[in-house]
């Protein structure tokens, strides 16, 4: 028996959030897919304290509230610390004609009416905060004809930021979820089949806890899933009950299979694996921005030949190799792989492809950089602002690390003379 979980389809509209939730529910390590950063520097990893997050919301998001095309969302712990919930605020929701279309796609309780509600979040529990601008344009169907799909448009045009708290927070979230499952399971007086849990969560922690598990009877598993896990997932996803479906992969007759295919939403099936051999490769894109400047947009802040402070938060592409499409062709090179999620592939096969592609792509990038731009890959990486942020030294902090230089004696004398003169003519207003 295997279990497949459907994440609310409505969330697919927000691809990145959807992927995050998929990873959250499915993986033992954090995996978030970001196809393309239109403004690479807009990605930021939260290392700040709760106060700084609040400051961010106050200083950066509040001033934009008048913008008609802003969507702000957060995913955070609930106060019980066991679940995650999502909230959104869309600036034009109250008066906008798109309200109904939005509301029909996303559970109404997800939306907060007052933007102020977002700022009273338990910031320590903040998991993801994202800001989409240009929402109005998208909702009005302002798709450019050259894009084939809504998704492509979003990828190309969304000006978004994703803020993630550090790895510890994620681990705690995951651990909390895992332990709550275990506790509940024990209350039922039974233990899980490790294989079944792996299929549901793919979570190393859970697997370890349940290594010595005994197999439950099918009806016990079903009861547990329906009574406990299902409800918890509904709450965690702020979804509707019908959006989360557990199905039993029992052999079906031909007719059953056909009807099942017709009614079932397309399942997001992710498989995770750790690509140990390549985890020190950098994943990024080399592209030109509209100002014709060369950029390397990193996906993972680990570089073997560049010294960047450790403790990085690993952000990975969740796209399998075989979905590389024409939208990436405006890049000179594109690297999208490390620990990727392959669908329907064996881990060995995926790993070998991963190694091959990462290695050859990095070599190509190096060659191009040396030949055309007379620079090295490491240097190109460092030109990217976000690398500095990823390294844990945001510019705001970096400037506080600048050492102090007192004026020389000679300059000090000049200053004293000038002070008198300036005082005489000083007028601020």
């Amino acid at each position: 028996m295997s279990v497949r979980m459907h994440i609310p389809r409505s969330l697919k509209r927000f691809k990145y959030l959807y992927d995050m939730l998929s990873a959250f529910l499915g993986g033992g390590s954090l995996k978030i897919g970001i196809r393309k950063l239109r403004i690479p520097e807009s990605m930021h990893f939260l290392k700040e304290s709760g106060d700084e997050i609040n400051e961010f919301i106050r200083e950066r998001i509040y001033p934009l509230y008048e913008s008609e095309s802003l969507l702000v969302g957060v995913v955070q712990y609930t106060y019980d610390g066991e679940n995650a919930e999502m909230r959104m605020w869309y600036s034009s929701l109250a008066s906008n004609e798109h309200k109904s279309s939005l509301a029909s796609k996303i559970s109404p309780e997800v939306f907060v009416q007052d933007p102020g509600d977002l700022s009273v979040l338990d910031v320590e529990g903040l998991h993801v905060c994202y800001v989409f601008s240009e929402m109005k344009r998208i909702l009005e169907g302002g798709l450019r004809p050259r894009f084939k799909s809504f998704r492509d448009f979003v990828i190309e045009h969304l000006d978004y930021r994703i803020f993630l708290r550090d790895r510890d927070l994620y681990d705690r979230l995951l651990k909390g979820l895992s332990s709550s499952i275990t506790d509940l399971a024990e209350k039922l007086g039974a233990r899980f089949s490790s294989e079944m849990l792996k299929a549901v969560y793919g979570n190393k922690i859970v697997r370890e806890v349940l290594r010595s598990a005994v197999t439950l009877r099918d009806d016990e598993i079903r009861k547990f899933l329906e009574d406990v896990v299902h409800e918890m997932l509904v709450r965690a996803l702020s979804g509707r009950k019908d959006d989360i479906i557990f199905t039993c992969d029992v052999p079906l007759s031909g007719d059953d299979r056909k009807s099942r295919r017709e009614v079932r939403p397309v399942a997001a099936r992710y498989e995770f694996f750790s690509c140990k051999e390549t985890e020190h490769w950098v994943v990024g894109t080399l592209c030109r921005d509209p100002r014709n400047k060369l950029k390397v947009c990193l996906r993972i802040p680990l570089v073997t030949d560049v010294s960047i402070p450790s403790d990085p938060l690993i952000v990975l592409s969740v796209y399998p190799l075989d979905v590389r499409s024409s939208m990436f062709r405006n890049y000179e090179h594109m690297l999208i792989v490390i620990r990727p999620i392959f669908s329907g592939e064996s881990i060995e096969h995926a790993r070998s492809r991963c190694e091959h592609v990462v290695g050859s792509e990095i070599n190509r990038i190096n060659d191009t950089l040396r030949r055309r731009y007379d620079t090295t890959f490491a240097e190109a990486v460092l030109t990217h602002y976000e690398v500095i942020t990823i390294s844990g030294v945001p510019r705001r902090r970096a400037r506080e690390k600048v050492y102090k230089t007192p004026l020389s004696l000679e300059a000090m004398n000049i200053k004293q003379r000038l002070k008198e003169r300036l005082r005489a003519r000083r007028s601020i207003f």
Binding site: I39, E41, S42, Y62, P63, L64, Y65, E66, S67, S133, D159, D289, P290, R291, K293, T375, E379, A380, L382, T383, H384, Y385, I388, V393, R395, R396, A398, R399, E400, K401, V402, Y403, K404, T405, P406, L407, S408, E410, A411, M412, I414, K415, R417, L418, K419, R421, L422, R423, R426, I428, F429
Partner: protein, 268 residues
Amino acid sequence: MRTSLFRKENVVLLLGPTYAGKTSFIVTSCCFLSYAEKKLNRKIFVEGHLPGVYSTTDPQEVCTKTILRATIISDEVKLRGGRGLLRIVSVSGHPPESGVIRDDIEHFVAGLADSNLRFTFFFDLEYDLERHITMFNDFFFPIINKAIGRDHVRDILLYNKFFVVLNKGDRILLEGGIRELEDRVEEYESTFLALLIKSYDLPEEEVLKSYRSYVTFCNVREHAKLRDEVRELLKNAIRAFLDMCKPVLGPDEHRSLDGLVGEWLRQK
């Protein structure tokens, strides 16, 4: 000596530490410009390249969509007055952690060497003065010296005049009052001028005549009702902007723009 057949490009280069408010200054100016263009029914803003908007011909877009704190290499706006074109450019004030960023900035500044260049030095009144000194000594002065040449920089400072913008005056004003603000402005301005005089071997008397300073507030996106004093600081920012634009604005243009400042501020 050969002279160019073409008129030299007018450029104002903004230099200052990160988060001093260089991008905010440009954004604030564009907000005013957007208002003024509508009132005068005349196009002044030609194009802008800023984080978040990239290339735009709409000052309102710069005003509302620019992402502050995100300048990697440079920001730029181009304006057209009755007497020609003006570029206002700012370079990243990021501490010199990366050689490549510094190289890029040097290349960018070197490209301005042949223009009719003027410098604007930005200060964050909340940021430590001695760190400002480090950044000018170790980052900005070496960059412009290398890109333009020390003697040329010296000539530009003396003959083209320069601006000093002491930003975030509102915070000092609200926390410490007017007296505190005056003291701090005096301290920052005199220190910087002394540094400049010493670094470029400039005559004191000439320096005092060749610059203008402004105490400003550039957070035009601040939505709270502004206090009168803070509004005055915002006015200073627009004054600084108009003074920078003076070489390309006709006298009537400058007067009419100046006349709109008060009206624009009343909305704030």
